[in-house]
Symmetry: C2
Subunit: 385 residues, 2 copies
């Protein structure tokens, strides 16, 4: 189904397999970053991001900057909080620890609210924490790529607005944007940060983020200048506004090739209703999760309501080592990822199921992943009890 050279199918939770047309866009001939043809493509890309976030509020702002997803943390920490500000970080795995580290770098004081591995902080605990202290913002990892735990955004955001209306609601959507439902305006979110290489389906190299008018106002009301230069809203906001208005503008040179690829992937994503895309990811996810259960294995996320649609984190049987299983799967033509949560890294594996592997008709990627996992475990000596 693909014109790409034969290669093992990538089932890690990002980067994912990419569509042929997206990869083709990566080799676009060179253009001026301030010339009319590229400015139009970048402008359209920003406008399409509004649709991806189901946002129509003109005061909201998309941002696309060369960098990794990690840069999104700097964008939030250096612009939406000030040194000395208290922020509440909901912890569902590895990535909350890193986000907290990032806040500390900028003199912001994070308080982490942690759940057991595979679980998520509950609304009542979060409400209690919000009532104890004034927090500039709260962060939630929509899907923690280290655990596959899905957080609930809408009820969380409603509660934050009720209990602490000045607190900004910040979502780390690196492993969720493009495969999990997000209604930015309706849910009252203030920022979603993400990256290109997961469910958005464009090669790595772009930090993509989206901000509410309230978040932008909060930035403008800062008493101190932003703590970063490359990640400064002061430098980027006028550039993004100009590109979207199809006016050339310069702060730092964007990557025309990556923007072309993002334009292609967003055009594909928006060619069908988003609800259909999310439903297909959910169905593929259910199929994989059922296969995992049928093999007698457990997920890190034990509660079905907390399970991500774009990835699955699976505890290995006691006698199977990830360091042996993963290479044997590569020989079967599929690449899974090892564990990332430091306390239990060796005890589980992760499988991503996002983008073209789920949406591409007739590829059979999901079936291939399930088949390989079953055979790999059997060869490793595992038998369902």
């Amino acid at each position: 189904m693909s014109n790409q050279p034969a290669h093992p199918t990538l089932f890690i939770p990002g980067p994912i397999e990419f569509d042929d047309a997206v990869l083709q866009s990566m080799s676009h001939y060179s253009e001026s970053h301030v010339g009319a043809p590229f400015v139009a493509v970048f402008g359209e890309t920003l406008s399409m991001l509004r649709k991806l976030f189901q946002s129509t509020d003109p005061s909201s702002q998309p941002l696309v900057v060369s960098g990794s997803g990690t840069l999104g943390w700097d964008l939030v920490a250096a612009n939406l909080a000030e040194p000395g500000d208290e922020v509440l970080v909901l912890h569902t795995g590895y990535f909350a620890d890193s986000f907290a580290d990032c806040f500390e770098t900028y003199g912001v004081k994070p308080t982490q609210l942690k759940a057991k591995i595979g679980e998520r902080p509950q609304l009542d605990e979060i409400e209690k924490a919000l009532k104890e202290k004034k927090y500039k913002l709260i962060t939630v990892t929509h899907v923690d790529t280290s655990t596959g735990v899905l957080s609930e955004l809408q009820k969380l955001s409603e509660m934050v607005h009720r209990v602490s209306p000045e607190t900004l609601v910040i979502v780390d959507g690196v492993c969720s944007v493009g495969c999990e439902e997000i209604e930015f305006d309706k849910w009252g979110l203030d920022a979603v940060i993400t990256a290109s290489q997961k469910a958005i389906g464009c090669p790595a190299g772009l930090s993509i983020s989206y901000y509410s008018g309230k978040a932008i106002e909060s930035f403008k009301a800062r008493k101190t200048p932003p703590g970063s230069y490359f990640a400064s809203f002061k430098n980027w906001l006028p550039i993004m506004q100009n590109y979207e208005a199809k006016k050339p503008s310069y702060f730092a040179t964007p990557s025309p090739q990556l923007i072309h690829a993002l334009h292609t992937s967003l055009t594909q994503i928006l060619s069908i209703p988003l609800s259909e895309r999310f439903a297909k990811h959910k169905a593929a996810s259910q199929k994989i999760k059922q296969a995992v259960a049928d093999l007698g294995l457990k997920q890190l996320a034990s509660n079905p309501a907390d399970q991500a649609s774009g990835m699955t984190a699976i505890y290995l049987p006691e006698n199977v080592k990830a360091a042996e299983l993963l290479p044997s799967l590569v020989k079967k033509g599929v690449i899974f990822a090892g564990g990332l949560h430091k306390e239990i890294a060796a005890k589980y594996v992760r499988v991503g199921h996002m983008g073209v592997s789920v949406m591409g008709e007739g590829r059979g990627d999901v079936e291939k992943a399930i088949e390989a996992l079953g055979v790999g475990l059997k060869e490793a000596g595992y038998q369902k009890a």
Copy 2:
């Protein structure tokens, strides 16, 4: 000479025209960023950068991070200086002002030593400045893309080491690495920051930099933590060391496609002696500069010794407007850039001559640029006095 779709030839001082094989590498199929095949490619890429910088000192360190060239300023300001440190910024155009802004963002105190437009600060002035105050580091823009002024690095570095041996010598080489001679070890440089999309010949999206052992030691001796998270040496140094040792490692997801393209471009660059590459750039530059003189026009950089080899900034005749000339050149199939130095932006244009446009046999790019400029000026009513 190229398999690319017909398009106007890009003669801006970056991004430049890219070779077919480099663009083809941009559409490489998706790989795991921690899988053995990609780790090997990234490791080789880092090793090739050592050769590009003509460096053999094992204590030096190459760094390749997703981002724009601008990110290099954050890497220097957040890691190699501490809040309150004094730094000396040599000014040859737009980019020194921005580097100074970046330092201020991180609480570092820049002093700018400015020259007239088209000139550069002289060694005796710089020596005097270094004797007046203790500077943590000195920065020099090797080629300022706004003016085409080339700075002299070797004598500068020798003087700094003699007069103020603790001061780190930092080079902004965004518009010079790959087309101007740089002998990192021999000249005693401590950092060169650059980007992928100019003379290195790889699409934009990578911040590339190189540090001496002394610079790394200076980082390790910091009294305060680095001022950036995404640009922190603490986060990146172990990752780069692991990749070069062909060990998987993770801080933020790199862009496998961009790294493949960089691997291809560096392989091409290193396939002939660097001296030959620099000589070809110099010859092409001379040809263009002679044509500019033959047209009766002047460069911003009036002294031949201060003229860059990879670009030329040309004052327009009084009756010719850049806003009219540049679109007329696009119709002739060539894209030049407008002025960028804010004081005189409308009065000049810039032409880049780097990479495949200079090195590619039989392309005729340089001749095409010269021809178009002559015809364009004539059509605009200009006649040599």
